[in-house]
Structure formats: C-alpha cells, structure tokens
C-alpha cells in the first residue's frame, strides 16, 4: 500500500505546482489593487469584489449565464438524438466509428475551426454564395457578428461534450429493462420516457455541467464569430489582463466564475445522490 502511494507523487506534485499554486496566486491578487501603471500592490481590499456588483458587470454576468444556459439546452436537444442513434440504433460494429466521427473536430485547432465558420457564413461566404446562385435570396444575409452566430459557434464547439457522457450512460443501461417494458405492454415512447430517459439522466447532467461551465468562460467565439460586439464575462476577464492591465479585478472576476462552476458541480452531485437514493428506494419496494 505504501509503495502504491508513492505512485501518486508525480501527479500530486504536478497539480500542486501548476494548478494549486497559480490558483492561490489568483486568489491573492484578487484582493490587491492596481497602480497607475498597472502594477499589482497588495493592500488587502474587497474593492474588486464590490465592483463586480455594479449594474454593468451584473448585466454582463446575466447575459453570460443566459448564453450558457441556451448553449446547454441546444446541445442537449441536438446531442441526445446523436448519442441515442450511436448507442441504440447503429449496429455494434459501427458504434466505434460513430464516436470517432464525433471526436474528429478535436483534431483541428479550435481557433482555425472558428475562422472556418467565418468563411462559411460571411456575406461573400459559402452559404450566401449558394443561396444567391439558386436565386433564393436577392442580397446576402447577415449570418455573422450577432448573438445567433455566437450561440451557433458555442453549440458547435461544445456539442461533443454533451454527446459523449450521454452515450456512455446509454451504453451502460441494462437493455433488458426495455424488453421487460415491452413485454408488459409499454409502447416505445412510454418506455423511453419512463426508463431510458431517467436512467441516462446522470449522463445528461454530466454533459450539461461540462457544456455550461465551458461556455461560461468562452471568449474566442464572441470575439471571432460575434465580431467582439457582445461581451461575455470571459471577454471582460481577458480585457482586464491585457488592455486595462487591471489584474486584481480580472482575478476577482475569475474567482467568482470559478465559484459559480463549483456551485454547479455541487448541485450535480446532490442531484446524483438524490437519484441514487430514489433508485435504491424503488429497488426496496420491488
């Protein structure tokens, strides 16, 4: 057992050096303030956290949360059927291929894929050119540099994070339950609603957490596909570290964002525990 513990040392060392220590520095800096020339002075103040509650930043925070929720709902609506098709409908030998297809976009850098969307959607882009040639539109549509384009980019970027956990849940589900439901006369829709969906909820929750938290911190998509017109909290943080050179305020915003993510994860575990409890209860009844 002792020797086993030694094996953890490299990972723990790595994490404490490159994760815990930088995080600690961010926490410390968030209580500091900036000098006229952007240096950090440690005077232990709550000013950065108080500034967050100004209406301007609250509005941006609210917009960010709404965008993240929208992204999560859309990825769920699109991701569940994809995961279901791969896990339940495709023959076994094609499942692997299906999963690889979902992962393929990760082989190309995300920044490059975002610029690819610009080429597809811009006024002289692929979509507009085709529609113009077909005579379906008279002048190019404005498909880029608005909130819809930002949402599209986010959903595109984060869809795999929803598909994969749901796929795993579906894969692990005991298929005999569906046969039993069918034997007892439940039509497929009822079986899906009362068996498949509840049993894959942990996968849906895990996917939602991954998508929601990742979209909270997004700043590349609003910059490239949104034309930097709509600011999300990620863009504000980036701005504090670069143009405004206000590291303390940027750090405070990062900490608030991290706390929100933490709350989400705690809620997830709570829900998971409750569900497990519920299941155990159901088993006892049976």
């Amino acid at each position: 057992m002792k020797r086993g513990k030694l094996l953890v040392v490299p990972a723990m060392g790595w994490l404490s050096l490159f994760f815990a220590l930088p995080l600690l520095i961010v926490v410390v800096v968030s209580f500091a303030s900036r000098t006229a020339y952007g240096q950090v002075v440690f005077n232990w103040t709550l000013a950065n956290y108080i500034r967050f509650f100004e209406p301007l930043y609250m509005t941006i925070f609210a917009t960010t949360i709404v965008t993240a929720l929208g992204t999560t709902l859309l990825t769920f609506a699109m991701g569940y059927p994809v995961a279901y098709t791969i896990a339940m409908i495709l023959p076994k030998k094609w499942q692997q291929a299906g999963i690889i297809l979902v992962m393929i976009p990760f082989w190309i850098n995300f920044l490059i894929r975002s610029f690819a969307w610009v080429i597809i959607l811009r006024s002289q882009g692929v979509v507009n050119t085709i529609l113009l040639h077909l005579g379906l539109i008279q002048k190019p549509l404005t498909l880029l540099y608005n909130d819809a384009a930002v949402l599209l980019g986010m959903v595109y970027a984060l869809l795999p994070f929803m598909v994969l956990p749901i796929y795993v849940s579906l894969e692990q589900m005991d298929k005999r339950l569906l046969e039993a439901a069918s034997d007892l006369g439940a039509p497929p829709v009822t079986a899906f609603r009362r068996i498949t969906l509840p049993l894959t909820m942990p996968g849906v929750a895990a996917g939602s957490i991954l998508v929601f938290i990742s979209s909270l911190g997004m700043f590349v998509v609003p910059d490239i596909m949104g034309g930097a017109k709509s600011a999300l909290i990620g863009n504000i943080i980036q701005n504090q570290f670069l143009a405004a050179r206000d590291w303390p305020f940027g750090s405070a915003l990062s900490i608030i964002l991290a706390l929100l993510a933490l709350v989400m994860i705690l809620l997830y575990y709570k829900a998971l525990q409750a569900q497990k409890g519920g299941q155990a209860h159901a088993k006892n009844l049976a």
């Binding site: 020339y37 240096q39 002289q124 034309g227 930097a228």
Partner: protein, 353 residues
C-alpha cells in the same frame, strides 16, 4: 492571518524562484557563442536581414515573438534580462520607462539612428529619445472601399452615415476607438478629463448600430472579402489590404488622428548590450533598411534610404498618406489611472444591442 500571509509569500517566492531558475539555466548553456535575443512582433523583420547580421557579426539571433504589449510587459517584469532587444509600442515605452525597465540608450554607439526622420526623434512618449528609437510607424485612418463609397470620406463623422449601417468596422482597441471619438470632438486622444471621455462615449453609443464588428487581428480579411465598406485601420494594414483588393483606399480625417510606432529598446540588465547596440545600428544602415522595409511593408523612417527605395514603394498611396499627413497625428501615451475610465465605458459599449 500573519501565518497565512507568510505562507502566501513563501509560495509566491517559491514560484518565482522556480521561474527564475528556468530562465537562468537556459542562458548559461549558450555562454560560448555570441547570441542576440530579440523579443518582438511576428514577421517584423526580413529574415534575410537577420541572416546577414548573423554573418557580419558572427553571432546567432534568437527571435521570440509576443502578440501584444501587455504580454511583453509581463515577461519583462518576470525577469527581462533574458532579452537583449525588445520592441514596445509608443505608450508602452512610457510605461516601461516609468517602471524603470529600460536601459538608457547610448546613441554614440548607434550613429545610424541619426538617420531617423526628425519628427520621429522627438515623441511625446519618449520626449528626449533616451530610451527608444522608432522602428516602424504609421497612422490610424479611415479605410474604405471605393466600389461602395463613391465620395471620399474627409471626417470621422462620415463613419456615422446611416447608409453604412452594419458596414463599419472599428479597431478592437479601447484607446483607438475612444481616441477617434475624442479627436472628432477636437480633444486629445490622451484625454484624462472625464467630461471629454463621456462626450466621446455618448457619441460612440450612437455609432453602435453602424458597427459590423470590432476587429484588430483579422480586419484585413474583412475588407478584402468586402464584408465591410468603411472603418478605422492602421496605415500598415491598409498597405496590405490595398495589395489584395485594389478598390481599397485610405484617408486621414481632417480632425486629426493617432500616430503610432513600434520601437527598439534595450531592457535593463540585458546580457548582450553591445551586440544589441550593433543590431539596432545595423538596421538603420540605409541599404539594410531598404531591404528590410520593402519586405515588411511599413513606412521606412530612414531619411538616408529614401533615394534608394523602389519608386513603387515610396509612392505607394497607402504609405505616402501617412508620410504626408504625419503632422495631423498625436502619439498615444500611457494615461495612468484614466485607463479604468476608458475600460468601463468600453465594456459598456459592448453591451449595447
């Protein structure tokens, strides 16, 4: 609390020690051959010029790049002596001077720097030219596509024309956007007066419906692909955009504008100061600068090189505009605490739908 604080200090210093240790060992290995470590913008030199310098001075040039001034500043504050030559922009020279990060330049060791045009020798960001020499420079102006805009713009106010709804691109940079609006109202682009900044901000809010996007990095593509008709752009970018789309034109508005520069400076404690001075001097040699500036496509500040350049380069309309109109430009300087005013309004500008 005290215990906590010393724990923080301990971990901070441990971290810094670690970071410093890494930098140190890297340099020690290369002690043998003469090495010049440059920290600069991407594509900022003709690679042949760097090779020629290596040959002439029997040394090796390491060329590292940064994406923005803030990254340069952060690296330098974490221990800048790993670089010998850096290229801060105008306002960053002020900041670095104030923070004591720059070595005073000994111009007697760089006689070629006297070739730099007079107007670039005395700037507001480095009044006596003690810490920096201008390397590339240009102006912010109005870029427009003559296919869509028939009468040439003359004023910043032309961006507000309701016919250009959704066709305007502004630089994604708070100082540039506010500088433009401040100039429009006859103020300095370095204004720290809250009333003037508010006036500029109120005006910018009315420009928002016209704005297609804010962009600095891929603004050229947006004009080449004709997504945008009109907007603000740096003269150097206008030069490249014009090359790919001949319908592009560039003007300096009558109210005045921002003139900017990237400079050469030597960070405090540079390990190869002599070689750095030789390098800077070499780049202002007239023949070298002809080779260099025609490759990178920026205005050559070297007065001795003017007669040696190709006619097409000297007379390029994009580059010539900046030279002719330099007196309409005002340098950006570090505005200290006022940047938080700009930043707050800038953030709010981005929330307007």
């Amino acid at each position: 609390m005290k215990k906590l604080r010393s724990l923080f200090t301990l971990s901070l210093s441990l971290f810094l020690l670690f970071a410093a240790g890494c930098g140190g060992s890297k340099d020690a290995k290369k002690e043998e051959a003469k090495v010049l470590n440059i920290f600069s913008w991407a594509d900022n030199f003709n690679p042949q010029v760097l090779k020629d310098f290596e040959k002439k001075y029997n040394c090796k040039v390491n060329y590292d790049v940064f994406a923005n001034n803030e990254e340069l500043l952060a690296k330098l504050q974490a221990g800048g002596s790993q670089y010998d030559v850096i290229q801060p922009s105008d306002y960053m020279v002020t900041t670095m001077t104030k923070l004591g990060l720059l070595e005073k330049l000994d111009k007697s060791k760089m006689p070629n720097t006297a070739n730099i045009m007079d107007k670039l020798q005395h700037t507001t960001f480095d009044p006596n030219g003690e810490y920096s020499v201008v390397y590339t420079w240009g102006m912010t102006g109005i870029v427009y596509n003559t296919k869509y805009i028939k009468t040439a713009p003359t004023s910043w106010n032309d961006l507000w024309n309701p016919e250009y709804k959704g066709r305007v691109i502004l630089l994604n940079d708070s100082r540039e956007v506010f500088g433009m609006a401040l100039k429009k109202h006859g103020h300095s682009n370095n204004s720290t007066d809250p009333a003037q900044i508010q006036e500029a901000f109120d005006d910018l809010k009315t420009l928002a419906p016209n704005v297609l996007a804010y962009d600095t990095d891929s603004i050229k593509q947006k004009f080449i692909a004709e997504e945008a008709w009109i907007g603000t752009m740096w003269s150097g970018d206008a030069y490249f955009t014009h090359k790919d789309n001949p319908d592009i034109a560039f003007v300096i508005p009558k109210e005045g504008t921002t003139v900017w520069a990237d400079t050469f400076a030597i960070p405090k404690g540079a390990k190869h100061k002599e070689l750095a001075e030789q390098f800077i001097n070499y780049l202002y040699d007239p023949e070298v600068s002809v080779k260099n500036y025609e490759y990178i496509g920026y205005n050559d500040p070297n007065t001795k090189a003017a007669s040696l350049h190709a006619k097409s380069f000297i007379e390029d309309p994009m580059l010539k505009t900046a030279v002719d109109q330099i007196d309409r430009g005002e340098w950006l300087t570090d505005i200290g605490d006022a940047i938080t005013l700009y930043d707050k309004d800038w953030t709010e500008l981005k929330t307007i739908k």
